[in-house]
Symmetry: C2
Subunit: 599 residues, 2 copies
């Protein structure tokens, strides 16, 4: 079985038929691109992913080597990383001024689906590098930019994020790393950071650590936190590398998965001085860090989605190849069939396909919003798209990574006993996938973000705009031949969802606020399921008119309609039930006496 | 934090207040037991589990050593195995005639909850040994029993099950291992078996392999399969060990978890003759194997439940210890609190608690049915209990192991970043737990078993009896002060469930049979959820009258009521939605064109 990572036909469907990406190229900012160049980009990314990155996946599972402060990535990473950087994949959407390709985000999403699906732990090195670069580009000083930006966007240097400390995880404000002014505008940084992905490695020449710390004497909590740029090696005025900056890796974690990316404990300023420079304003570190957050969190959603997509492709191939038992309605003594013909296996494949397709549309659309913002004609329009990105972020990060883990678990189940064996690829995808629900803000945090901030930002207008987008698709579905039943079924759940959204917001503003937040995660889940249903219905609206033609893609288009039908009629009823539970907002979890939980 | 594996108070609650196990002791067969001895048994089991078996869990993760056909278990297993056997835990419920303790199954379930929760991969060695012994006891010849039984029940020898072959997994009937008569009543066995848990080890002196094979010339499919007893070392007439019987371990699998139990590939008869003796009648191997199936499958349910219970206890301890962020309604600047006070963490803990408690009641009750059968006064009564065991089996195996994996995943989530780190225990519990959904018949197979056999066996009477048991609890709840609302909410779902059960059975008997089986797994899930709700409501019926007293256990009893309230009001509505989906039985998964799944 050839592994294809993702379904290229479906990728193209979303790009060209659902979102119509080539329309973006009418704008000056993307005028160098057209359908043909976009297809070439996806093809090249796919080739690199299949030929070079995918072979790293199994190797990555053996993990990195840690010895005396030095982290060695698997040897095979090096030539592939070189290929990746030489292909200029490290700055797909960024400005040519700093070496970027300036392509639409939605096209980069397609490329990244193949890259991350091929080997997530390898790609994580590039993901954080890009995040650090964007931060510098957005709020760095001219000197910081001149010294670092080209090196980061080219992948010559790496980047990280230094937030977490042993007593400051979700509660970032509890951090204790200090920054002491050195009198020359720089700071001496002292503290311990943990869970730092790519925190140290021999893959790059230097590492730029955006680091949260508290300037001596600053207030407690998040409002006393500042952000610093801390290089692994100090940077001389001419841009050459200077002395080691005493960012010491004291160990790497033994994890459940994602072994190819070292999760480092770093000590700053313990073995000698660690010097950093402020980025952004004093005490404004949290808001500076949040500049990176939408992109970082959405990338984590893409990580989960890419794993799920890859697991689906493996499971589909296995289900077509594996012969076991006669068909249920075949007469006794009939020959055994491939397991894709067994109803329960079809149920699992359809569930995977529905979520993977829905995730793809959601991830691509969320990226497309960045492109709409970039091509907006007015500030108001741009602000509207930016606000929509804010709404999408907790859904893409929180909902998609939850469902990605479920999809990867179904991949294991379809493999049966072989799914549990590491010789086959689906077990690793499941293990790798588990962290995405946790890092960059746990999915509990994402659900709180949706309920406490995103739904009511700007007086609730962006959230309303999202609901209106869904309603537009619903109207189109109603007007499309053959989709009447599923449109009606979606409409019922959609209307119920709108009511329940009002209910939970009212509850959150009442003295029953704790009850409301005991349902923030279920509310994130139903929001995601309704969003997936919306995306699949939209796909059906595009596909249905193609079903009556006798083209070679007839089955593909029919499949789009069937997947929407399956999700709306077989999965969404449970969502409807969850909406009942949320609307009831039972207080038992809040009222539970502590001893009731057990000794 | 001390790890307690399971909540002893809740164990006692189920034994003595819900099921009232001591009532069994009025019968002759259990007259040697009483409440005091039962409590002592559980206490001793718990002590052994905590002090001796639990320390093996982390060690077990490093796996077994395989070298030239020999499997060495972790060194630390040996003394603990000795302790376990010396304590006579290997035959808790079996007849004293063969060295057993003759205790009620439900008491053994409590002991096993601690044992399996402590280290599942260690306990798996004993589980399969016991299964082989029961098989011999039930249908073995006098010689087979005399040679093997005491050695198996004492744990001196080990046992396995040799079913699976590379092309015969779920489709057992496709196996190709052959048995050639040797003329003296014995058979020469030739073939390859895979995925054999405990298939080879240095833990025991000899291994008895019940082996499915086809006598030369026997019909194809399951009706040509016979069952054989194949020892690792041949057994001399005086019971001493003879020559190696050429059951050669050719390799062990690298798995996702459960590393402490070697999963072996075995070759029979390839390196020299492998001799076996028939057990049961010729060509009746499948029905002989099914004699072991109820117990084996229910033990897998217990394995999953024990992992879930253990993960819950860890997560609860962590949530009480881990300080992070101020409480949601505390004023700004308030001190951070332990995360058990945050609503979303409470939601996760309540979900875990509800499922773990529900599973405990289900597992214990299913074991209690064996005791009811043993103490039945009439054959009819005994047959009724046996049939109820048949109904429980797919629920205990299929539903519980699915939910156990979800519970273990919540355990990881509550630990946050630490959950993904192997230094902490919850990641391993999640990895170990994943196989239980697959082995001993995948959960898809369990769902088919429920729908195609169990619901309609004996004209549907046992299934009706299960529904009547639930109805009895419902009536009690209605009559219990304070439970009116939750009883009414349960009743609505219960009634809907009964209707949908009729609907899916009708559909399965129609020409839409494939549509029905595309919902067999969702139907198993709703059956399990309704059963959990029943058990939690039953608990509430027992606990509610205790809530008004000012005893030391006031909070514990209040907790029982709150858990039932949570499950029925916050989880069961989604079940109700799933019932809608099943009743609709949409055919999209069946109608999906093959190319619609993707290339």
């Amino acid at each position: 079985m050839t592994q294809l990572i993702s379904d290229r036909r479906d990728v193209d469907f979303v790009l060209h038929e659902q979102i119509k990406v080539a329309d973006l190229c009418r704008h000056d900012v993307f005028s160098e691109f057209n359908k043909k160049t976009i297809d070439m980009i996806v093809t090249e990314a796919r080739n690199l992913a299949i030929k070079a990155i995918l072979p790293l996946q199994k190797i990555s599972d053996a993990g990195c080597e840690f010895n005396n402060g030095v982290v060695k990535v698997p040897e095979e990473f090096h030539p592939v990383y070189k290929l990746y950087c030489e292909g200029e994949w490290s700055a797909m959407c960024d400005t040519p001024e700093w070496g970027g390709q300036g392509m639409p985000h939605v096209v980069a999403a397609a490329a990244n689906e193949f890259f991350y699906g091929a080997c997530n732990s390898f790609m994580l090195y590039t993901m954080l590098t890009h995040g650090a670069a964007k931060l510098l580009e957005t709020i760095g000083t001219e000197q910081q930019k001149a010294q670092c930006l080209k090196n980061l966007f080219s992948g010559k240097w790496g980047g990280t994020m230094l937030l977490t400390e042993p007593m400051a995880g979700s509660d970032v404000g509890a951090l204790t790393t200090v920054a002491i002014p050195r009198g020359d505008g720089t700071y001496s940084i002292k503290g311990d950071k943990i869970f730092i992905s790519s925190g140290e490695s021999n893959l790059v020449e230097n590492i730029i650590h955006p680091t949260l710390a508290r300037i001596e004497g600053a207030p407690e909590g998040t409002r006393g936190i500042s952000l610093f740029i801390v290089p692994k090696f100090r940077i001389n005025d001419d841009g050459s590398l200077g002395e080691f900056n005493n960012v010491v890796c004291t160990g790497i974690e033994e994890k459940m998965g994602l072994h190819g990316n070292a999760t480092c404990s770093l000590n700053l300023g313990g073995k000698g001085e660690t010097i950093g420079t402020l980025i952004g304003a004093e005490h404004k570190g949290m808001s500076a860090m949040f500049l990176m957050m939408n992109e970082a969190r959405q990338m984590v959603g893409l990580q989960g989605f890419a794993n799920a997509s890859c697991s689906y492709m493996y499971a589909l191939g296995y289900a077509r190849d594996r012969i076991q038992s006669k068909g249920l309605t075949d007469p006794p003594g009939s020959a055994p069939v491939s397991i894709i013909h067994h109803p329960d296996v079809r149920r699992m494949l359809m569930t995977m396909r529905a979520y993977v397709n829905g995730m793809r549309s959601l991830v691509y659309y969320a990226n497309y919003l960045f492109d709409l913002a970039a091509t907006a004609q007015t500030d108001e329009e741009k602000a509207g798209h930016r606000a929509m990105i804010d709404i999408f972020t907790p859904i893409v990060k929180g909902f998609i990574t939850d469902k990605a883990f479920e999809v990867c678990s179904l991949g294991v189940q379809i493999y049966g006993g072989y799914g549990f064996i590491e010789e086959f690829p689906v077990a690793q995808l499941l293990r790798d996938c588990r962290i995405f629900q946790i890092y960059e803000g746990t999915n509990g945090i994402q659900s709180i973000d949706l309920l406490s901030r995103k739904m009511e930002m700007n007086g609730g207008k962006p959230y309303q705009a999202l609901l209106d987008l869904m309603k537009k698709t619903l109207a189109e579905a109603k007007a499309t031949k053959g989709l009447g039943d599923m449109a009606a079924n979606f409409e019922a759940v959609y209307n119920r969802y709108r009511d329940v959204a009002d209910t939970i917001l009212e509850l959150a503003a009442s003295d029953k606020v704790l009850n409301a937040y005991a349902f923030s995660h279920p509310f994130l889940e139903v929001t995601g399921d309704v969003a997936v249903a919306w995306m699949l219905l939209w796909r059906a609206v595009v596909a249905a008119p193609q079903c009556s033609e006798k083209g070679k893609d007839q089955d593909f288009y029919q499949g789009q309609v069937k997947v929407a039908q399956f999700f709306i009629n077989a999965i969404l009823p449970a969502t409807n039930g969850r909406l009942d539970a949320i609307s009831r907002a039972d207080g038992a979890a809040i009222e539970m006496p502590d001893a009731g939980f057990g000794l």
